[in-house]
């Protein structure tokens, strides 16, 4: 059964697009035909992070308006044969995103054999964000370890349970996962950041993954190479763990405790 997964947060700049790209890649690498849809109309950047910006011809709004068909608009990833991107429009206004339009695109993608449909949500709780989450079966609520981000995640989680298609039709609720990004155990230790326990207390959402704060993420974005493709770095490994959990494989949480660099580890570079 095809699954629609929204990556959402309420707050902007917390790592939704980074996570959509990484998790979409990871799922596709497991062999499942996967598409990542950029719902951030007017501020598209998924194509940049995926490194396919020069191959974008048509976009989601073109498809909704019937100006292009899906096959024309889908951009095939050069690295992973099962991965596709449906870019956002850079120019159109977001009012063009309608329930009917989005429903048809998702139905067509399912008919085309896509197993995972990842919706990269824009920030906020306006039209674009509402359309990205409306048809979701599962949600990855992305949160940074700070109070305002957690508050917004709480808000958007409330909307998942009241403003979605599943809620309105009283179907089984959207399965919600929590992804904590930009986690820095050292700063948690110094009480400059909320801990995983604090966040769990405030949100009560099942934890899917904890991605450490890392320069490797920025480097990956600049290269247009989703960070999960770099399995030598902690962030890449943490995203892979999250994907594995999504696929039902148990994984221990890594990179969540702070170890002061001791004498030996300094010598051996541990």
């Amino acid at each position: 059964m095809a699954k629609v997964i929204v990556v959402t947060s309420g707050k902007g700049g917390v790592g939704k697009t980074t996570s959509s790209a990484a998790i979409g890649c990871g799922l596709a690498m497991s062999g499942a035909k996967t598409v990542i849809i950029d719902f951030d109309i007017g501020l598209r950047n998924l194509d940049l992070i995926m490194g396919c910006e020069r191959r974008v011809v048509y976009d989601l709004i073109n498809v909704i308006n019937g100006e292009a068909n899906l096959q024309q608009a889908l951009v095939k990833d050069k690295r992973i044969s099962t991965l596709f991107i449906l870019p956002a429009s850079q120019t159109r206004d977001k009012e063009a995103l309608t329930k009917v339009g989005v429903e048809k695109v998702i139905a067509d993608l399912k008919a085309d054999g896509f197993e995972y449909i990842i919706c990269d949500s824009p920030a906020g709780i306006e039209q674009g964000a509402m359309m990205a989450l409306y048809y979701a079966d599962e949600a990855i609520v992305t949160t940074n370890p700070e109070v305002s981000s957690v508050r917004d995640s709480d808000r958007i989680t409330g909307m998942l349970s009241s403003k979605s298609h599943r809620a309105e039709l009283q179907l089984s609720p959207i399965r919600v996962h929590l992804l904590i990004t930009r986690y820095c155990p050292e700063r948690v230790e110094k009480e400059e950041m909320l801990s995983i326990e604090d966040i769990d207390d405030l949100l009560g959402i099942e934890l899917l993954g904890v991605i450490p704060e890392s320069q490797d993420v920025l480097n990956a974005s600049n290269l247009g190479e989703p960070v999960i493709l770099n399995q030598d770095c902690d962030a890449g490994k943490a995203y892979q763990d999250a994907v594995d959990r999504l696929l039902g494989i148990d994984r221990e949480f890594r990179f969540v405790t702070y170890r002061k660099k001791g004498f030996l580890s300094r010598i051996f570079g541990g």
Partner: protein, 236 residues
């Protein structure tokens, strides 16, 4: 067409001074507590004294300006007041005071039996609204004319409102308004208090004013002498 009589619970605002700006202030305070809840809410103004000489047109305007709808005016009104109110085409509402007959208990000391004079049985519907699960930021739960039980946390930015009492089996981090229509004996019970605002019958306390010894603890919030009072939830 049939004419039916229904019962409503209405927001009543008392006015005991000629100074109408006080009314605006009162309504504004109410609205700020829960803007979504009170927007366009019907309100009745109760004139507290026969000697008040009010500008009723201005009164109506001020109610509207605060985002409420004036349903009418009530109180023990003088004939002059009634005339002035009618002149502005504002309804005068007569409140039928609900007389709650208390059970009269007589103790016959001779044989120590207790006789209770029962009033005729009136089927009273005692409702409680029960919400299971967390109330999240931006969500609002309202228990109209009854108590509210929340089995879960009330997050920051969430609002729980009841005309009666509020019981929270969890942490209160958002707003809780008990006695929303004016019931002063209403209380709020919660297992861990770190509220943004608690209010009983319109009297409220903000998080800044919470005494530190109560924060994060099991608490009862009640109203005594027009003041919000916190006390420990006893752990037996």
């Amino acid at each position: 067409m049939t004419l039916k009589s229904l019962n409503f619970t209405l927001l009543v605002v008392n006015i005991d001074s000629d100074e109408l700006s006080l009314l605006s202030e009162e309504l504004n305070k109410k609205r700020m507590m829960a803007p979504d809840f009170f927007s366009d809410a019907p309100v009745v103004v109760k004139v507290e004294s026969e000697t008040l000489n009010l500008d009723y047109l201005q009164l109506k305007q001020r109610v509207n300006d605060q985002g409420f709808i004036l349903l009418g005016i009530t109180g023990d009104l003088s004939d002059l007041q009634k005339e002035q109110i009618k002149a502005q085409k504002i309804a005068i509402l007569k409140s039928s005071k609900r007389v709650v007959a208390r059970n009269k208990v007589e103790i016959d000391s001779a044989n120590k039996t207790v006789e209770v004079e029962r009033r005729a049985f009136v089927p009273v519907e005692v409702k409680t609204k029960i919400h299971t699960g967390r109330v999240r930021s931006g969500q609002q739960i309202y228990a109209k004319e009854c108590d509210l039980v929340i089995n879960g946390d009330v997050g920051a930015g969430a609002e729980v409102i009841a005309d009666g009492n509020i019981h929270i089996y969890g942490a209160l981090r958002g707003k809780a308004l008990a006695g929303a229509m004016g019931e002063k004996s209403a209380c709020i019970f919660c297992q861990s208090l770190s509220s943004e605002l608690v209010s009983i019958a319109g009297v409220y306390k903000l998080s800044d004013d919470l005494a530190a010894d109560f924060v994060g603890k099991g608490c009862i919030v009640s109203l005594q002498d027009e003041q919000i009072v916190l006390s420990n939830l006893s752990r037996v």
